[in-house]
């Protein structure tokens, strides 16, 4: 019961070392962030032996990185992966080696973002057969409100978020009221708008949560409190770490999301623990994707990997 600070207008974020709690930047901070200059890279000193850090410490390290990045746009233009490499050049050589490893596999670019959501819609937009991709995606999405109601969400808490996502996907083939179809540029703009971007991210959180609750027996063995390490009930885990804004998705959540959206996701784990870099594939039994969404994971954060093989 200790208020950590009570002065107005102080950013509501403490350095991770002083606080075990984590929360994302508020929508207002994010909105402000769009107009701000790009961030400075954070130094990870060569003295830091990253392989000795616990998962939680790695998470905090990356969150510190994220905290310094509050001026980052919600989603950025595609950038050469060399930019990411440059951020780590003064630090751990293992991180740099892992990044080189990625580049050698054809992943030449990175799109800094907060969510799988962008890649999901982008994949529909970039499809070789957009009308088919839109139809398939909508058919999956249209089944989801009923699933959310099954686990007890009220229609009114998800309806608006659902509409935003469906509209965006539909806009790939059907012009909006101004007569425009979705383009790379307007997709980027949609995700840079906090209202639209947050709505879609929230809907995906709800989908993740619903999938876990509907298949509780499959997920329960893997649910532990991130700080206490104790097993948790599915419902409790979802309320605290999936539905809540600003909690980052881990392996379990990614599994659930790939299942309910019926998409393949492939994640490269950049953890600075070895020179090797492993891709973890999330391939649900029922899948509608022709190629996986490829993400780069640094503890606490996902970006999209782009390249000739993605």
């Amino acid at each position: 019961m200790i208020p950590m600070n009570s002065e107005p207008d102080v950013p509501l974020r403490d350095p991770p070392s002083q606080s075990g709690e984590e929360e994302g930047p508020s929508a207002a901070e994010q909105a402000k962030a769009i107009e701000q200059p790009p961030p400075q890279p954070v130094e990870i000193t060569a003295d830091t032996n990253l392989s000795e850090l616990s998962a939680a410490q790695m998470y905090e390290l990356n969150q510190a990185h994220e905290t310094a990045d509050v001026h980052r746009p919600l989603i950025a233009e595609i950038a050469p992966i060399a930019e990411l490499r440059a951020e780590y050049e003064n630090g751990s050589t293992l991180f740099v080696q892992q990044i080189d490893n990625l580049e050698s596999q054809g992943y030449s670019s990175i799109r800094r973002t907060r969510a799988v959501a962008f890649a999901y819609v982008e994949q529909v937009l970039k499809s070789s057969d957009p009308p088919l991709a839109v139809a398939t995606t909508l058919s999956t999405l249209e089944g989801t409100p009923a699933l959310l109601e099954t686990v007890g969400y009220q229609n009114l808490v998800f309806d608006d978020f659902y509409s935003v996502l469906v509209q965006l996907v539909r806009n790939v083939t059907i012009p909006d009221e101004l007569g425009n179809k979705l383009t790379n540029q307007t997709l980027l703009e949609a995700f840079q708008s906090p209202a639209e971007s947050n709505s879609i991210v929230v809907y995906m959180r709800m989908l993740t949560s619903a999938q876990m609750q509907l298949n509780a027996e499959n997920f329960a063995p893997f649910l532990f409190h991130p700080e206490l390490g104790e097993p948790m009930e599915v419902k409790e885990f979802c309320e605290n770490f999936v539905d809540a804004i600003g909690k980052e998705a881990d392996h379990v959540q990614m599994t659930a999301l790939s299942q309910i959206l019926r998409i393949d996701i492939s994640v490269a784990y950049l953890d600075g623990r070895s020179e090797q870099l492993d891709f973890v594939k999330f391939s649900p039994e029922e899948t509608t994707s022709s190629s996986p969404i490829v993400l780069l994971y640094r503890p606490g954060h996902y970006d999209i990997l782009e390249g000739s093989y993605s």
Binding site: N5, S6, E23, F158, I245
Partner: protein, 152 residues
């Protein structure tokens, strides 16, 4: 196009008007999409038997992505319940209003949670740091970063 916040609040309000509030909770005013008031009573046997409190919700344009600012009203003779998580200025230390806020929650869901927080209270007392907190507390409780140390 109306903002997400006003569309969502319009739906919540319609549901309250159509279905009513849960027992012990009553809508006092909701004349706009920025401030709503409710009265809240704890039903059955509890330390707050026969007491009635007024809850104020303030919404910003990012609601429900961003949490509402929720506090007990302490003007016009109204008082905040004496509870280990409620400061005498009406501010409430509850994780669902802070880092565990989720857009899955609605205004009524918050009222019900706070009602049960009161119902399960075992000892009427103010937070230990009440005097220190209220001296420097910001006007808006969302500007306070509370440390949530238990689940009660």
């Amino acid at each position: 196009m109306a903002s997400i916040s006003s569309r969502r609040l319009a739906k919540e309000l319609m549901e309250i008007k159509n279905d009513g509030c849960p027992v012990g909770i009553n809508l006092v005013k909701a004349d706009d999409f920025s401030t709503w008031w409710f009265t809240i009573q704890v039903m059955g046997e509890s330390l707050y038997k026969n007491e009635q409190f007024t809850l104020q919700f303030r919404f910003d344009p990012q609601y429900p992505i961003s949490s509402p600012a929720v506090q007990f009203v302490v003007t016009d003779g109204k008082e905040a319940p004496v509870h280990p998580h409620v400061y005498s200025n009406g501010h409430i230390c509850a994780s669902i209003l802070g880092n565990e806020w989720s857009p899955v929650l609605s205004v009524i869901a918050v009222c019900v949670t706070l009602q049960s927080m009161l119902a399960s209270c075992k000892e009427k007392q103010r937070p230990i740091d009440n005097d220190r907190y209220i001296k420097h507390a910001p006007e808006n409780p969302k500007k306070t970063r509370f440390h949530y140390d238990d689940d009660t």
